[in-house]
């Protein structure tokens, strides 16, 4: 059989010879010297598993983190430490603290020593949409720093609200979730709960299914004002309508537009900046520069990429530092940069259902993170009612 196969191969080669130009011998030499590779791994379907390799682009040009800041100590040695006692506000200047160049020749210039460098915790995984090749994932997970200080505050008493304890919570949860037809699976769930540490027999002494259910209903039907979680409010908007006649100031016809759903901007800002996601936020703007690493004499060029490295943000930051601080407040003052967006949004492929939302983004966040849908970086602030005048207006 082996000989027959060889003959076939020779026949094939001869056939190729006919097609190839006679002077081209480079193509068929490889056929005579098959490369000796180890047997490839076979997948379940019987095919050889193709080994995944990073492309040249990924291997060579992964975005590099910014260079490290100068050590705080040495930075203070270079620059005159500010006298903390009574520094006039006008003396707040751009101290131009430079980071070292990274492998691309990029460096940053900060107005002061930043209190927080979000890029320490940033890894490639935060910036890409689809999962990167496997070895990159391994790298990413090892690099990313866990947020150890984010320990959930153990509030054992409130987490079962509106129920008194874990036992009642568990019983009610079993009662009102899952299938309404109690099956083997449901029974299993109940037994698992009864066996767990959350179940304490003593807690059931005063358990009354009717009163607990009433409590639950009351909780679910509580007025919206008691539910500050999302803080949505409904208001009516009053607009003045021109009717082509002359009016005194008090008699201008007004029209009430009901149905503006909105949230307090301050509440939304508080939510954004206290959220764990804001670990990646830049509190201090900086100038980003590029200096050609191959020519040391080259003049650095400004890099414009993010809102927090823009002149507008720097200007706002410096202006803020120069204004007198709040009396008795020594906290770091930070510009919370807001980016608002609003346009009509269709809700259906067919039909005219649409909304007019107003969204808020934070400019302290990198655009690469902000642009990822699953980072929940977009906050809705208002839904604007529509005034329809179809039928009369042209």
């Amino acid at each position: 059989v082996a000989i027959a196969a060889d003959e076939n191969l020779i026949l094939e080669l001869e056939h190729e010879h006919e097609v190839l130009p006679p002077n081209d011998t480079s193509q068929n030499t490889s056929h005579h010297q098959p490369s000796v590779e180890p047997d490839p791994e076979i997948s379940a379907s019987g095919r050889a598993v193709r080994k995944k390799r990073l492309t040249w682009k990924l291997l060579q040009q992964l975005p590099a983190p910014p260079g490290p800041l100068p050590e705080p100590l040495s930075a203070f040695q270079i620059i005159e430490p500010p006298s903390e006692t009574s520094l006039p506000n006008s003396e707040i200047v751009w101290r131009a603290i430079k980071t070292s160049c990274n492998s691309f020749g990029l460096y940053r210039e900060y107005p002061d020593i930043p209190t927080h460098n979000p890029d320490n915790t940033l890894c490639l995984l935060n910036l890409v949409d689809n999962s990167p090749p496997i070895n990159e994932m391994e790298l990413s997970t090892s690099v990313s720093t866990p947020l150890s200080h984010q320990d959930p505050i153990s509030s054992s008493s409130s987490s079962f609200f509106p129920f008194k304890n874990s036992t009642i919570f568990g019983m009610m949860s079993w009662m009102w979730t899952g299938s309404s037809m109690k099956s083997i699976g449901e029974m299993k769930k109940l037994v698992d709960f009864l066996k767990s540490d959350d179940f304490k027999k003593d807690d059931l002494a005063t358990f009354d299914i009717h009163s607990e259910t009433t409590k639950f209903d009351n909780y679910l039907e509580r007025p919206a004002s008691d539910n500050p979680q999302d803080g949505w409010r409904e208001s009516e908007v009053i607009i003045q309508v021109p009717d082509g006649k002359i009016h005194s100031k008090d008699s201008i016809p007004t029209f009430k537009v009901p149905g503006l759903h909105h949230r307090s901007l301050v509440d939304v800002i508080k939510t954004i900046y206290s959220d764990v996601a804001s670990t990646s936020f830049h509190y201090m703007p900086f100038k980003s520069f590029w200096k050609d690493p191959s020519t040391p004499e080259s003049v650095p060029q400004r890099v414009h990429d993010e809102l927090y490295s823009s002149d507008a943000m720097i200007e706002a930051h410096m202006k803020l530092q120069q204004q007198p601080p709040e009396p008795g407040c020594t906290l770091e003052r930070v510009v919370a940069s807001l980016m608002l967006w609003s346009d009509s949004t269709h809700l259906a492929n067919f039909g005219t259902a649409s909304l007019w939302p107003l969204y808020l983004f934070s400019g302290n966040q990198s655009k690469y993170v902000r642009g990822k849908p699953n980072t929940a970086s977009c906050h809705h602030v208002a839904y604007i009612p529509k005034v329809r005048t179809i039928g009369y207006s042209m």
Partner: protein, 78 residues
Amino acid sequence: MQLPPDFLDFYVELTGDGPPTDVSTHCRRELMHAVWAILLDDDFLHAYEHGIVILCPDGIFRRFYPRIFTYSADYPEK
């Protein structure tokens, strides 16, 4: 949240005719401004001037001053 009869009836009662296109557009612009007047409430203006203290996830309290940098919006002109 749309009110075809209300606004039309109101305007017809007011002037005897439906609103011309420019009046409709004007009213919608007025609406947008009125919405912003509601959103930029006293809380926000106070925060704009005096900042708000927020505990950041790195455990540090900072005083945040909201500033609007970009506003990319279309108002419901049609």
